[in-house]
């Protein structure tokens, strides 16, 4: 690790400054001992936006060292810790097998960056995690996003749901009934969700909540009605709700139109990460970021296009309680 780029907690707090939404300061026990899905703190969910304007030495690549620094700052700010390893240890425990759920549907153009996954693996290993599984729907999807499939062995493995298949019993909630990926149910103790920040031609946006469609066998059934309530219902399936501990959205490159396929003409370098334990808060803020960019580019809002991601509000309702979409209950920390 480049020590010069590693911020102290004081640096993080100094950088944080602005609370974009809401006003209360952060408590110190955000990540404390809980490993529950959302990061409610005193009624608020913290969402960290960590960016670096110099992240890219060129249009296509990112500086791995600077990306690691962006990641460290995000984790420290999220968990209110002085070191990134301390932060990671509040998310995962040594001895656990940790799944990194990447999103590779768009191929190498706009999938979860391999450099980001490398950085997370480095920190997880330093934090005492020996077994890591990088996974998504299909081996072919992973390979298209430049991940190398490694199905066997110990240490870091990488494979799609086609490696282990699906459970034979349906998991159900509300409107959905699905077979769950065995990678999620049997191979992983904890999961870190690594979506990308992008538009979706049917569901409005696809960020943290919808990315878990990659954990079920029948995502094609759940795009009706702009994905509402299906996206929220899928996230309520017990293996997802119980095992996903952190959402770390790769927004190094974001896409505001034409998704989920990669459409380079509608991407922009956001050069950052959005990190939260609350997938609803993350999706809500991510959606606002995309809407803001659409407005800047003179495009209609998703609501005008009848693809407002209403499933985000559904995920926050009393039936789901997966997090909050209330701006007054989201503490945004920029670092």
């Amino acid at each position: 690790m480049n020590q010069k780029l590693r911020p102290s907690r004081r640096d993080v707090l100094r950088l944080a400054g602005t609370l974009l939404v809401g006003g209360a300061g952060a408590g110190k026990s955000l990540c404390r001992d809980t490993l529950a899905g959302s990061s409610a703190l005193g009624g608020k969910s913290r969402l960290v936006i960590s960016r670096d304007g110099k992240l890219r030495p060129s249009k296509a690549s990112v500086d791995s060292t600077r990306l690691l620094n962006v990641l460290d700052r995000a984790m420290q700010a999220l968990c209110d810790c002085d070191s990134p390893l301390e932060a990671w240890r509040k998310v995962v425990r040594p001895g656990e097998t940790v799944g990194l759920k990447v999103n590779c549907l768009a191929g190498k153009g706009n999938a979860t960056r391999a450099e980001l996954v490398d950085a997370i693996c480095e920190r997880l290993q330093q934090a005492g995690i020996k077994d890591i599984i990088i996974w998504d729907r299909l081996n072919a999807d992973l390979e298209s996003a430049r991940f190398r499939v490694v199905e066997r062995g110990s240490g870091i493995r990488c494979f799609g749901n086609d490696a282990l298949g699906y459970e034979s019993e349906l998991a159900t909630f509300g409107s959905v009934g699905s077979l769950m990926s065995r990678t999620l149910t049997q191979a992983c103790d904890a999961v870190i969700n690594l979506p990308v920040l992008k538009d979706h031609g049917i569901a409005g946006v696809t960020i943290a909540l919808k990315s878990m469609f990659g954990a079920i066998h029948n995502p094609n059934k759940y795009h009706l009605n702009v994905g509402d309530p299906y996206v929220a219902d899928v996230f309520m399936l017990p293996p997802i709700r119980q095992k996903v501990r952190l959402h770390l959205c790769d927004a190094t490159t974001a896409q505001y139109e034409g998704g989920p396929s990669y459409m380079p003409q509608w991407t922009w370098p956001y050069n950052g990460l959005l990190v939260s334990r609350d997938p609803v808060a993350l999706d809500y803020l991510g959606w606002r970021i995309i809407e803001k960019k659409r407005a800047e580019m003179g495009m209609k809002s998703l609501e005008d296009l009848k693809r407002e991601p209403t499933y985000i509000a559904t995920a926050a309702d009393s039936k789901h309680r997966l997090g909050t979409n209330d701006p007054n209950r989201i503490e945004v920390v920029e670092v």
Partner: protein, 396 residues
């Protein structure tokens, strides 16, 4: 109600292994590990992996017949009323059609996940060559998602998630003939989603003297439907309910396109039967039965057989009880009172309403117990007793 895909006592399972040269050639080409497991003949559905999609898809991948290319490599499917708009690398609602670089493909041509030799009564088709066998095949996938589906383990999965075997049209036709089947039935899941395969298999069957019957939810657009009518010999439509509410909440579809399908089938002269699965509390009101029967009478005709079938708790509707017999009998009484000529009860083995009665003299002209036909008293399409024409396809 579609017949369950799993083998029943009245079913036999064919072996697509057939010509060893063909099979060897396929194994070499497709490297499909599951085929070896299937080669014994039983094609029981069950989740398993079938090698990497890139390798295993090739023999089954054929460009779709009905779609429209859109800008930015998107496509719009024109096969069923959903008209899914699909991005590159994505699939439609059915899960078996994929956009690859702006070209739309079916992934299930010749990709059979279930194959059995069934009595045609199991489909059920009661007025189509009674007492004959139907060589029954299915692929994975469906364009609806009924909460009471009894074959969800093949209909609600993607093709690579279930064991399959390579069964090209000529082989299906040859096997059907070998097993002395009068027809090939496209059934168990939803044949609309393997439309191209069905359209290629039906003429192959006809060349062997084997007819084709389609067991479908009827959720298909008019243009492909009319073309289908020219290729097959009978259609049984699962009309899931007679209310839009049920279609929205339980089927995840719309009622009107299904009604349009039924009307078109009749206009095209296709032999058509209807099954209505009676689901307690959801589609079992007298008003709905009456509205259904009146619509059949006015828009389809008195001679269209209507089967009220008993529901059993399955899939996502395990919280409901089986349909009480009284409810089924009430439905039949209402339809009879509207004057429909052929109203049956299904999934009630031994019930008198399994048999066909002459609408004029009321005597039994086809007697059935379960899937077994014990007597046929129809000669040249007429009641043996009173010479009243009995609608249907009765053979020579």
């Amino acid at each position: 109600m579609k017949s369950k895909a799993s083998p029943a006592s009245s079913s036999a399972s064919p072996d697509f292994g057939g010509d060893p040269l063909d099979r060897r050639a396929f194994l070499k080409a497709a490297a499909l590990p599951c085929l070896a497991a299937c080669a014994g003949g039983m094609l029981a559905p069950g989740l398993a992996l079938a090698g990497s999609p890139a390798e295993s898809d090739a023999p089954f991948t054929v460009e779709a017949s009905y779609y429209e290319k859109l800008p930015y490599k998107k496509i719009k499917c024109k096969l069923c009323p959903r008209e899914c708009v699909i991005d590159d690398r994505e699939r439609g609602y059915c899960g078996v059609r994929e956009n690859r670089g702006g070209t739309y493909y079916t992934l299930v041509h010749s990709r059979v996940v279930a194959a059995h030799v069934d009595p045609v009564e199991k489909k059920p088709l009661f007025h189509f060559l009674p007492g004959t066998l139907a060589f029954s095949i299915a692929t994975a996938g469906c364009n609806v998602n009924c909460k009471m589906c009894q074959n969800w383990d093949i209909s609600q999965v993607r093709p690579e998630q279930v064991r399959s075997t390579y069964a090209p049209p000529q082989k299906v036709a040859a096997q059907a003939k070998q097993y002395q089947c009068a027809s090939i039935a496209y059934t168990y899941s939803e044949p609309v989603i393997f439309y191209e395969y069905m359209m290629d298999t039906a003429p192959a069957g006809h060349e062997q003297g084997v007819k084709s019957v389609v067991i479908t939810g009827g959720y298909i657009k008019q243009e492909p439907l009319k073309k289908l009518c020219a290729a097959v010999d009978a259609v049984k439509v699962d009309l899931k309910a007679f209310s839009q509410k049920f279609y929205e909440e339980v089927v995840n579809a719309n009622l009107k396109p299904v009604l349009d399908t039924l009307v078109t089938l009749r206009q095209q002269g296709m032999w058509t039967e209807i099954v209505y699965l009676v689901v307690p509390t959801l589609n079992d009101s007298d008003a709905e039965f009456k509205a259904l029967a009146r619509w059949v009478r006015s828009d389809l005709g008195l001679d269209v057989p209507l089967h009220f079938s008993r529901f059993h708790p399955e899939y996502l509707l395990k919280n409901l009880p089986p349909t009480p017999l009284e409810t089924l009998e009430r439905a039949k009484a209402i339809a009879d009172a509207e004057g429909l000529h052929y109203v049956y009860l299904g999934n009630v083995p031994g019930h008198p309403a399994e048999s066909t009665y002459c609408p004029k003299c009321r005597r039994a002209v086809v007697e059935r117990v379960g899937y077994t036909v014990s007597s046929v008293r129809i000669r040249k399409g007429k009641c043996q007793y009173c010479q009243q024409p009995i609608a249907g396809v009765w053979g020579s």
